[in-house]
Symmetry: C2
Subunit: 125 residues, 2 copies
DNA sequence: GCGGCTGTTATATATTCTATATAACAGCCG
DNA sequence: CGGCTGTTATATAGAATATATAACAGCCGC
């Protein structure tokens, strides 16, 4: 589990960690059923506080990417509530696409970018 | 210019205002060349502090949605640097799509959502 | 020039968020 | 029991957010 935190970034550490883990799951680098390093080990590995790691894990749990097992710790387990997921996605994409539309980015360009990103993540099983 | 701030939202006021204005430009409710209400008037209209409005206007200026004219105030003037815009868009979409991919949302569903949103904003001139 | 309108800047204050630190607790396993 | 989980509690520091009051510089119409 190689994760790096950019200490110069303006993005919160716990958010960076959460994002790297989601990316890891999406690329298949981290797989369903795999246990994340314990909050203490992860905090040592990447050089941030234990509570900051815990905050990221708790967020991932709340967002349905991880389940907590008393013994094994935070285990990757993606919980999909399709309708809810779709609605959240719409909200997230709304402003981004509004801005892109103002800037004159075309539908084709948008789709191209989506496909580019999906090439990284959609990785056919 | 009817804009409402959700005081119960966890989203920062200045960010809400910035987003409502971008949506307004995207839908055509606010048009290129139009002056936004002065920071003082806007702050009265929507019930937040003048400095918070100023922060939103300054952000919109930095993001290239608005230019400041000494007399007329903040005037809608979208500045497009296509390559830069595309790169910013990629970054913004990256995590969102990674999460969607984890949740099993298909390419078709993604495109459908993008098109739904574009129907609001892409509004053929 | 004066009054009135712009955005902008300066100070100060309160609250919340982020991050760290130290410490302890409950649960489970070998 | 010792060692590993996540979790909680408390305290502290700094940054971000939001408000308040006040003032400044620039430009217009009168």
């Amino acid at each position: 589990m190689y994760i790096e935190i950019d200490f110069d970034s303006e993005e919160a550490y716990y958010m960076q960690l959460r994002n790297r883990i989601i990316e890891g799951i999406a690329t298949g680098r981290i797989i369903e059923g795999e246990a994340l390093p314990s909050v203490r080990k992860m905090s040592e590995d990447i050089g941030i506080n234990m509570h900051t790691v815990n905050k990221a894990y708790t967020l991932l749990k709340d967002e349905g990417f991880v389940k907590v097992d008393r013994r094994r710790g935070a285990v990757v387990s993606v919980d999909s509530d399709h309708i809810l997921d779709i609605n959240r996605l719409k909200k997230e994409l709304n402003i981004t696409i509004a801005g892109a539309s103002c800037k004159g980015i075309s539908r084709d360009e948008l789709i191209t970018i989506v496909d580019e990103i999906l090439k990284e993540y959609g990785g056919e099983v």
